[in-house]
């Protein structure tokens, strides 16, 4: 079983460990619901080092990503992140990824844990011109610091105005080293940051962040709450909500696709499907109360007609809404927001209704994005070095 650099720290905290795609990871430390609420109301600290990190570099790095991904990387500015999809020739999704532009010719690609090997192989096989693909996952860790208090707590550790870092911006953390970075990204639906750094610094940063956040009720958070948080935020999970047989149109990620850019893998199929229309649509739905929707459960037409119209791909009990929520596919004719549908649980039928995603989103305070971004060289992890 693979272990992250923080494995011993999780055990010391008494985490319930689980096997996640061959990685021994914390499922929860105390309670999934408590950890979920900590992220929504204060601060949660996650080890997500099981995710892969790949560098795509060279004079043709942008050309390579434009050939492989649905987004237009000529439009991605320096120190900016892009959520994107990598497709196969049939327009099916190989993975969803976040790609950071670290330099004119340097990109950091974050891939899903279960897809590490497939993604690296695909990137290498389809690279364009002078491009180098380097899998740096083994030596690297990722910490996610998520929640409304994230910037306040991180600023006590990092001598820089992390609050000035805009959403989807990345900056170096110079005192950790030339290859340590902080980005205002995450997959929880709450404000937060992700820190990318060499394994040898992970333990120190984990301890320091937990200690700094303690007065604000910061919790270490496991994969259990990571899942409930992303569902509540309406965020799709690769392997559950989408796979190699799913196109971006079907899963409702149309906004990631730059159809106007020159050819990319899968574009032909996407154009064809756009003209023909999709045969299933991804929706979110809620139950007033009742059981938790789980993967594979049947979605049926409302009323007396119990005809199957689709199935659940993700679901949970939403701690913020205090009700069950789910996502899945239904026939396009049944996919309108507000439309009723049935959910079959243990042969019993429960009434549900389609809602707009996300199920929950934070109240936006006046944006910090307008304040100046931190200038390079101001990031000093004083207390850590």
């Amino acid at each position: 079983m693979n272990k992250t650099a923080l494995n011993e720290k999780h055990r010391a905290l008494g985490a319930k460990m689980t096997d996640f795609h061959g990685w021994e990871m914390p499922l929860y430390y105390t309670s999934i619901l408590d950890e979920h609420r900590a992220v929504r109301q204060a601060l949660g600290i996650f080890d997500i080092s099981h995710m892969g990190q790949v560098l795509v570099t060279g004079p043709d790095a942008t050309r390579t990503l434009n050939h492989l991904m649905v987004s237009d990387f000529s439009q991605v500015g320096l120190n900016r992140a892009c959520y994107t999809l990598m497709l196969n020739e049939r327009g099916g999704i190989i993975d969803d990824l976040i790609i950071y532009r670290l330099g004119e010719e340097e990109f950091l690609v974050i891939v899903n844990c279960g897809n590490r090997a497939i993604d690296v192989e695909w990137l290498r096989a389809h690279r364009q011109g002078n491009t180098t693909v380097t899998n740096i996952s083994e030596e690297r860790a990722i910490l996610a610091i998520q929640g409304p208090l994230a910037s306040r707590v991180l600023e006590t550790l990092i001598d820089a105005k992390v609050a000035g870092l805009g959403r989807f911006e990345i900056a170096p953390i110079r005192t950790i080293g030339p290859d340590a970075c902080i980005a205002r990204t995450g997959y929880t639906g709450s404000d937060g940051f992700e820190l990318f750094l060499p394994n040898r610094h992970a333990g120190r940063l984990w301890e320091a962040t937990l200690a700094a956040g303690k007065p604000q009720d910061a919790h270490p958070v496991g994969l259990g709450a990571r899942d409930t948080l992303r569902v509540e935020a309406g965020l799709r999970l690769y392997g559950a909500d989408m796979d190699a047989a799913t196109t971006p149109w079907e899963v409702g990620l149309d906004w990631t696709v730059a159809l106007g850019k020159p050819n990319f893998i899968g574009k032909d199929t996407l154009l064809r499907q756009r003209a023909q229309g999709v045969t299933r649509k991804f929706v979110g739905f809620v139950l007033p109360q009742g059981p938790v929707p789980r993967t594979g459960m049947e979605l049926t037409a409302p009323g007396a007609d119990h005809r199957r119209i689709g199935a659940v791909t993700s679901g949970t009990f939403s701690p913020m809404l205090n009700q069950p929520v789910g996502m899945g596919y239904v026939e396009p004719a049944s996919a309108a927001v507000g439309a009723p549908l049935g959910l079959t649980v243990r042969a019993q039928r429960y009434a549900a209704a389609i809602v707009k995603l996300p199920f929950w989103k934070p109240e936006r305070k006046p944006s910090a994005v307008s304040s100046p971004a931190p200038s390079s060289g101001t990031h000093l992890l004083e207390r850590l070095s």
Binding site: Y28, S31, I32, L33, G224, G290, P291, V292, R294, P324
Partner: protein
């Protein structure tokens, strides 16, 4: 571990308590600890006939749904409707407010066939294969 001496237990972590002519049923402290975060409970309807060792209710945690087995055979005489609004009572007070249902037993001798507190505690201390 809280294992009240006056109750009877199943190997599948239910407890049973004689209450007048009824047998009240819930899950043990060990079981609620393992489940964590209980968010929904499906109780049997009053009048339903249940059989010892067969599923009678379902408890759902955030992660999964679990069958709850009837410790004794009989007819469901009461169900704890308050759990619809506060399923977390199972986590907070599994031997009290978190009780699930009561059975009017058809064969009262079944109750004495269940594990004593001591035997149940012993079972918990025996490592299960694969763990």
């Amino acid at each position: 571990m809280n294992i009240p001496a006056e109750l009877r237990y199943t190997k599948t972590h239910e407890w049973a308590r004689q209450e007048g002519t009824d047998v009240a049923v819930g899950i043990t402290s060990h079981a609620q600890e393992e489940l964590r975060d209980v968010v929904f409970i499906e109780l049997p309807n009053v009048g339903k006939v249940v059989k010892q060792g067969e599923p009678a209710a379902v408890i759902e945690s955030v992660k999964a749904a679990f069958d709850i087995y009837a410790p004794v055979s009989g007819v469901i005489s009461r169900a704890n409707g308050a759990l619809a609004k506060s399923p977390q009572a199972v986590n907070q007070d599994c031997y009290g407010a978190g009780w699930l249902f009561a059975v009017a037993p058809s064969n009262p001798a079944e109750l004495s066939s269940l594990l004593s507190a001591q035997a149940y505690e012993q079972q918990l201390q025996t490592p299960t294969p694969g763990h």
